[in-house]
């Protein structure tokens, strides 16, 4: 049996989840200019919200997903409003913000663990039989197909938001120069809050999809975030579409890498790629 089609399918699945996360991560990075580790926990917030609303309370799935996205967006917004914003107002350095966001991640994942225990959960029971498709010898499920489609839809939506709306122009202006944006009359604080809300929603969306595909745990955030950060750096940190390329490049490197060497080296491949880029092309494939 040929393994290559399956490896391509696996890479596309993994890459698509990385891509969603990288989009959300790059969105806040390009505006707020710091590495928001707290973004990782939105995956758990989104996943567990749906788990609670649909599995425990038995609400309809669409409603649960909608509320789950709202919750993760809200949490991200609140983290910005009460933690990052005051720190930024005090001109805290990127390192301080990074550590603060690490605190957000740790505290919130502990909270999720207290509320829902640390047991591993999946959302897959919420949908009827997850169909398995076969294409040229590779298999993938309906959920995985929808993850792939989500990336396409999300990229188009974000492109429209950033290029076609006034709000998007404000974001672009802030990411170019926050001070100047403020001077020309953009309410930077408000836009930033909205950016955090949207990126939180994207993180929550990724968490929900992960919940349907592999399953959720309170501590899932950090490992997914690391993949997103590596993908973002490879693609050119802060560049939304570079991040997409980075995400798929990372996924292909990981999945094809372990074809010939043992699977325990998967993480090493990811971070090896990161080191190669940091040393030889620190601004990534598509620098902003």
């Amino acid at each position: 049996m040929d393994i290559v089609p399956q490896l391509i399918a696996n890479s596309l699945i993994a890459g698509s989840i990385y891509a969603i996360l990288t989009l959300g991560f790059n969105l806040t990075y390009s505006t707020a200019k710091f590495i928001d580790i707290g973004f990782g926990v939105e995956t758990a917030i989104g996943g567990y919200s749906v788990f609670y609303l649909c599995k425990t309370l038995g609400l309809p799935l669409y409603f649960g997903i909608f509320l789950g996205l709202f919750c993760s967006g809200l949490v991200s917004f609140l983290a910005y409003r009460f933690i990052y914003k005051p720190l930024r107002a005090r001109k805290a350095s990127g390192t301080v913000l990074l550590i603060a966001s690490l605190g957000v991640l740790t505290a919130l994942q502990a909270l999720v663990a207290i509320l829902f225990t640390s047991q591993f959960q999946t959302l897959s029971g919420l949908i009827q039989a997850n169909r398995v498709f076969e294409l040229l010898g590779g298999t993938f499920t309906a959920v995985q197909l929808s993850i792939f489609c989500t990336v396409l839809i999300l990229s188009v939506l974000l492109a429209f938001l950033l290029k076609g709306t006034l709000f998007g122009k404000a974001i672009t202006a802030i990411s170019d120069d926050e001070e100047v944006a403020k001077i020309v009359g953009i309410n930077t604080e408000r836009v930033m809050g909205e950016v955090f809300f949207i990126s939180g929603m994207i993180g929550g969306l990724a968490g929900i999809l992960i919940g349907f595909d592999t399953g959720i745990e309170p501590i899932m955030g950090l490992s997914w975030l690391l993949a997103a950060v590596v993908a973002a750096i490879v693609g050119g940190i802060g560049n939304l579409y570079g991040g997409l390329v980075g995400a798929y490049l990372l996924a292909f490197a990981e999945n094809f890498g372990i074809w010939k060497i043992s699977g325990e080296w998967k993480m090493a491949i990811a971070f090896g790629l990161l080191i190669i880029f940091l040393v030889w092309r620190p601004r990534g494939l598509f620098p902003r």
Binding site: L7, I13, A113, Q119, F120, T214, I219, I258, W259, K266
Partner: protein
């Protein structure tokens, strides 16, 4: 005036925030104070026993029920008059199923809380790392869950009432050969426990002429698809899954379904001892082999534990047939030991080797001179989502 107004707005928010923090602290102190008052029933100095278990991370699904069982047993002992009149007090530390955190937990328990006996670790990695720390301080380390063969005879200060995996790996290897399997695909999580199972299995299986195709994965792996695709193409007679924790196993099973891979399965007692997982992935499991150390379901002490756990915590005890009873027994063994030789790590460790046919929820416990529980795993086969003893 604009900036001024904004300034007073933020200061108002700040004041409100500080108020909330103050209320939380004061409220917390009041509640905590009350709690402390209620618990001070037995006025005598409590006997402190250290506990190490994984309360966060992938090992947490085991740590949580373990802590509940310990607290349940301690409560029973204290209501019945304590240990020679003194109440038992557990000091619980999170050892996170890894050696690094277990070492710092053990150091904290020994140096700050001055305990003589530590109950734990749960994961083998925890016990292996904490043993030298405990031995140096002459503190007894008593594990109800670590089963790595590397712990056999590791130190006179370590013992366990859970059997070594040497028997588990051996039983499964012999069963595989008896089934006529020549080639086994093996997926091992990178932990001491899982490595112990692999070593025991591979030693016996290769001795009997079999070959193993092995892949290893780190504990935090989420995406197993490509590793599984690789093992799938190996066309082995059976697939042995050797995880440390259940989340890893469930992710693997889920992804095997997605890949439409239905090999003949074998797995260690992590999966074998989890009835819910067996039921959830029923289709995948039919005919799977596992070896498990289990309590006798008709043992009255065991049924009493299950009933009391359900009453106290409102949920069924997880891993009920394997770890639950050994954990429960461990607390009572500590009571028996302290009553026999006093709260002294060195004497307690020596005493542990004399435990013979001690009746508990996990059956009759006998500890050998190497610190291992005598008696081991039985071969089981999964039928219709349930593990049954193989005849």
């Amino acid at each position: 005036m604009e900036p001024e107004a904004q300034g007073s707005g933020t200061s108002l928010i700040k004041t409100v925030l500080w108020l909330v923090v103050l209320i939380l602290i004061v409220g917390g102190l009041i509640i905590y104070g009350k709690k402390g008052g209620e618990e001070k029933e037995a006025s005598k100095e409590p006997i402190k026993v250290g506990v190490m278990l994984p309360l966060t991370g992938d090992g947490a699904p085991y740590g949580e029920p373990a802590r509940n069982v310990y607290l349940l047993a301690t409560e029973e002992i204290n209501t019945a008059g304590g240990v020679s009149g003194q109440p038992l007090e557990l000091i619980i530390e999170d050892s996170k199923c890894n050696g690094k955190d277990a070492t710092s937990a053990a150091q904290k328990l020994i140096n700050i809380d001055k305990v003589q006996i530590i109950l734990g670790g749960f994961c083998s990695s925890e016990s292996i790392a904490a043993t030298p720390v405990a031995a140096a301080a002459k503190v007894a380390l008593f594990s109800p869950g670590s089963s790595s063969p590397d712990l056999t005879g590791i130190s006179p200060y370590f013992f366990r009432n859970y059997p070594s995996d040497a028997s588990q790996g051996k039983v499964l290897a012999e069963a595989a050969v008896a089934k006529g399997w020549k080639k086994v695909a093996f997926l091992q999580e990178q932990t001491d426990y899982a490595l112990g199972v692999f070593k025991a299995f591979s030693a016996r299986f290769t001795e009997l002429g079999g070959t193993i195709i092995k892949e290893e994965v780190p504990s935090n792996t989420i995406d197993f698809r490509s590793v599984l695709s690789k093992l799938k193409t190996a066309n082995a007679d059976a697939f042995f899954l050797d995880p440390q924790t259940l989340p890893v196993a469930e992710r693997v099973f889920k992804q095997m379904q997605d890949l439409k891979w239905k090999p003949v399965l074998m797995f260690n007692d992590v999966v074998g001892g989890a009835p819910e997982t067996l039921a959830t992935y029923k289709d995948l499991m039919e005919g799977a082999l596992t070896a498990e150390f289990t309590a006798d379901p008709n043992n009255p002490k065991f049924t009493k534990l299950l009933a009391e756990y359900k009453t106290k915590y409102g949920v069924d005890l997880l891993y009920a047939s394997s770890y639950g009873p050994t954990e429960y027994d461990a607390v009572y063994l500590i009571k028996t030991g302290i009553e026999a030789v006093g709260n002294n790590g060195e004497k307690f460790a020596v005493w542990s080797r004399t435990v013979k046919d001690w009746e508990g929820a996990s059956g009759k416990t006998t500890i050998g001179a190497d610190g291992d529980r005598i008696g081991g795993h039985t071969l089981k086969i999964v039928k219709d989502g349930k593990a049954e003893v193989m005849k």
